[in-house]
């Protein structure tokens, strides 16, 4: 495992940074929020990203992808994280897309993935529930036997980009109690399935999330993703990939928030001097720099470990998320504090970074959850 960017990745990073600066300033996120945009992102921009080949980065060439793995995708997500671009990489490419790639039948893959890579289809994964917190195997949604198929009943929360997804992979329980490790099955649904209802939710980061109500949705054997009753392991692998993705995004966002704050420390004067000359602020800035550097190493290692399929990949993913969660909040909180009064205003952009950092911190498990997982996987 080499913790250095390849030439291809360097090039990708440059292209993505230029693109984000030109087409996706933070003012775009504000405009989408203020307009209460139904999608919460730009479909036009999404198609452009697909044309650039970014949507297909972690997919094999047979589906039109670039086969550059999470190490390649991370580079793009970091650049887009810098300007808080809300396009549906997590939902479509990492959650829904990887669920089908890792667990889908040949039919499901050929139906969804080529169009997904072209930017023509959006996917997501409905896994979170009111009582599940971060426990992926806590599933109350039931798949009840009905002839040769099942009927899905239950409710999912905060389904990313749920109201605009063309397809939703739903996590349901074909057997066992609510917190049983086994008995979990994944199903692929179309958005127009009878009995499926969506309601937009509004979170602090103003991205698209939805409540998903399943009221007796009929599914058959052909809709099962992976093996019946053994979806827990698949779900964990899928969420691990998405976790690497959100860590890369967080790395970009925290780097940008930190650099903006650093700029402010050099420019803002009080008592006749730049406030960045005060040691109380200098040391805190240096600590944040250290935390961000450690995050970068952890994110690079996690992406490469998953790509290479190494034995302790899951631990490295938890390492990355634990550290990114803590660092993102540290940097975001310090950014507001160091900006002072202006940092509290909605007019200033730094607040957008705090809101997104909090959402990212609590998505796919917070730092404490991932330290617990690290210990568990380490046998203690």
């Amino acid at each position: 495992m080499q913790l250095v960017l390849t030439e291809d990745q360097e090039l990708l990073a440059k292209t993505a940074a230029d693109f984000a600066a030109e087409h996706s300033p933070v003012s775009r996120v504000r405009a989408l929020r203020d307009a209460d945009d139904a999608d919460g992102f730009s479909r036009k921009l999404w198609r452009q990203m697909a044309e650039l080949g970014w949507v297909g980065i972690p997919f094999p060439e047979e589906f039109g992808g670039a086969d550059m793995g999470l190490s390649g995708l991370s580079v793009v997500l970091e650049a887009l994280g810098r300007t808080l671009a809300p396009e549906p990489f997590l939902s479509t490419v990492l959650l829904g897309g990887q669920a089908l790639l890792l667990g889908g039948s040949e039919g499901q893959k050929s139906e969804w993935l080529p169009k997904l890579v072209e930017g023509e289809r959006l996917l997501t994964l409905a896994y979170q529930e009111r009582r599940s917190r971060y426990d992926l195997r806590c599933v109350a949604t039931r798949a009840e036997r009905d002839g040769s198929g099942w009927r899905l009943r239950g409710e999912k929360i905060q389904v990313l980009d749920g109201t605009c997804a063309d397809g939703i992979v739903v996590v349901a329980r074909t057997s066992g109690e609510e917190r049983a490790a086994d008995g979990i099955t994944l199903f692929a649904l179309r958005r127009d399935a009878p009995g499926l209802r969506l309601e937009r939710q509004h979170r602090v980061d103003s991205r698209n999330t939805a409540l998903v109500f399943l009221d007796g949705v009929a599914v058959g054997a052909e809709d099962v993703v992976g093996a019946e009753g053994r979806g827990g392991d698949l779900l964990e692998r899928v969420v691990d990939r998405a976790t690497v993705g959100i860590c890369a995004e967080m790395l970009g966002s925290m780097s940008e928030a930190f650099e903006r704050t650093l700029g402010y420390l050099k420019q803002r004067e009080q008592f006749g001097v730049p406030i960045g000359s005060f040691q109380a602020l200098k040391h805190r800035a240096a600590q944040q720099f250290i935390e961000i550097e450690l995050c970068r190493s952890a994110v690079m290692a996690a992406a490469r470990a998953v790509d290479d399929g190494v034995e302790d990949a899951a631990r490295l993913v938890s390492l990355a998320k634990a550290r990114c969660s803590d660092a993102a909040i540290l940097v975001a909180d310090e950014s507001i504090q160091m900006h002072g009064g202006i940092g509290m205003t909605d007019e200033h952009e730094i607040g957008f970074y705090l809101k997104r950092a909090r959402v990212a911190e609590l998505t796919f498990g917070d730092a404490a959850y991932h330290r617990d997982r690290w210990a568990r996987l380490g046998g203690y």
Partner: protein, 401 residues
């Protein structure tokens, strides 16, 4: 590549033929190993021929020029030598501040006469060096040092005292910063001087630490006469030399703490979790104390992230990139982490972590407790954590003074 393979084969053959049996597998503890010098003791005695044979080949300082007693090896060859030593479980023949600090400094700043006089003796382990930087009133503000060097003909006359001179009681020469021009601005009146510890007027006394006995000493100079030609670099221009040497020192400290980092810290079992099992008991699953368990995980995560960062810096260097800003964090992070880790080990042991000596405490318990106390100094010596953060703020982040 073929040349390197040939070098490896020859090296292995030579090492097998020349390494005394008695030193194979010798584990060197901290402060252990052979430090050389006039008062060197060889334990076991076979360390002496081992040193002599390696020095003869220049392999005590593998990459230094052959003309001064070094091995003249390329970096790649030196790495092969290191790997073969590790493979055959052979200890380094020589260690100390001659090899790690003053040697590299002299090779860079010394004049020809100084190199010819001192470098070969360092390579052969004949002279042991110590460092005279800090003073009772000059710690983090090193440039305010007050040890006087008054010019008298071809000599300086030295008066003052140096603290934290590690192993001064066992050393033969000291490299010291002295104030040669008290009227100049504080950084501009300093000379970097090489002083023979046998000179009349040099006296050494040991310093006890909160952790017990230590290698640290206070070294006093009372009218000590030192030839002016022993100045390294320009007279009054010692600050430049001093800063470069501090760079070598920080590399050494980072190397010590990053030592466990090889391979990104992979594959090690959890030392902390094992220790916790010993003291907290184990029901076969998660550790009984959820708070300590979380702290252990946090410490391990930080350690792994640090090791990965060391690896990232190495990988970037290997790929031909300029050193990135990440290396500036090594000293402060590694030492703060070691403080947390040693403290956690004491807290895991609970009341058993309180032993100072004697009955009722196991040797390793006392060792860990002393280690915790000693580690408090890690973030002070070699530039305090606060000074490291200042350096990051200024040089990396560009924050104004």
């Amino acid at each position: 590549m073929a040349e390197l393979d040939e070098f490896r084969a020859q090296t292995r053959q030579w090492l097998k033929a020349n390494a005394p049996e008695a030193i194979t597998g010798l584990a060197l503890t901290e402060g252990g190993g052979n430090w050389g010098g006039r008062r060197a003791t060889f334990e076991p005695p076979e360390m002496k021929p081992w040193l002599e044979r390696m020095a003869e080949r220049g392999w005590t300082a593998p990459t230094w020029p052959r003309e001064y007693g070094g091995g003249g090896l390329s970096a790649a060859e030196a790495k092969v030598l290191q790997q073969e030593l590790a493979r055959l479980r052979l200890p380094l023949p020589l260690t100390g501040f001659g090899l790690t600090m003053i040697g590299p400094t002299l090779l860079h700043f010394g004049n020809e006469e100084q190199k010819r006089e001192h470098i070969p003796k360092i390579c052969r382990g004949e002279i042991r060096w110590c460092q005279g930087y800090s003073e009772p009133n000059a710690g983090s503000d090193l440039a305010s040092l007050q040890t006087r060097a008054d010019r008298d003909g071809d000599d300086f006359v030295i008066n003052g005292s140096k603290v934290w001179t590690s192993y001064a009681d066992l050393s033969d020469w000291i490299f010291a910063l002295v104030r040669s021009d008290p009227k100049a601005k504080k950084q501009e009146g300093i000379t970097f001087l090489l002083i023979d510890m046998d000179s009349p007027g040099v006296s050494v006394s040991p310093i006890g630490l909160i952790s017990g006995k230590s290698p640290f000493c206070e070294t006093r100079f009372d009218d000590v006469r030192v030839p002016v030609r022993n100045a390294v670099g320009a007279i009054h221009g010692g600050w430049t030399v001093a800063k470069a040497l501090l760079g070598f020192e920080r590399n050494m400290i980072a190397e010590v703490f990053g030592g466990q980092a090889r391979g990104g810290g992979q594959g090690r079992g959890s030392v902390l979790a094992e220790l916790a099992r010993e003291y907290l008991g184990d029901a076969g699953g998660a550790l009984g104390d959820p708070v300590l368990r979380d702290e252990i995980a946090r410490c391990e995560l930080d350690e792994r992230a640090f090791h990965l960062t060391v690896q990232r810096a190495r990988d970037a260097a290997k790929a031909g990139h300029q050193p990135g800003p990440e290396s500036s964090l090594f000293k402060v992070y590694a030492t703060e982490l070691n403080k947390r880790r040693t403290e956690l080990m004491v807290r895991i042991a609970g009341p058993h972590g309180l032993g100072w000596q004697g009955a009722g405490f196991a040797d390793d318990e006392i060792g860990r407790t002393r280690g915790w106390l000693r580690a408090r100094g890690n973030s002070i010596e070699g530039g305090t954590s606060e000074i490291q953060l200042n350096i990051i703020a200024k040089r990396v982040l560009g924050l104004p003074d």
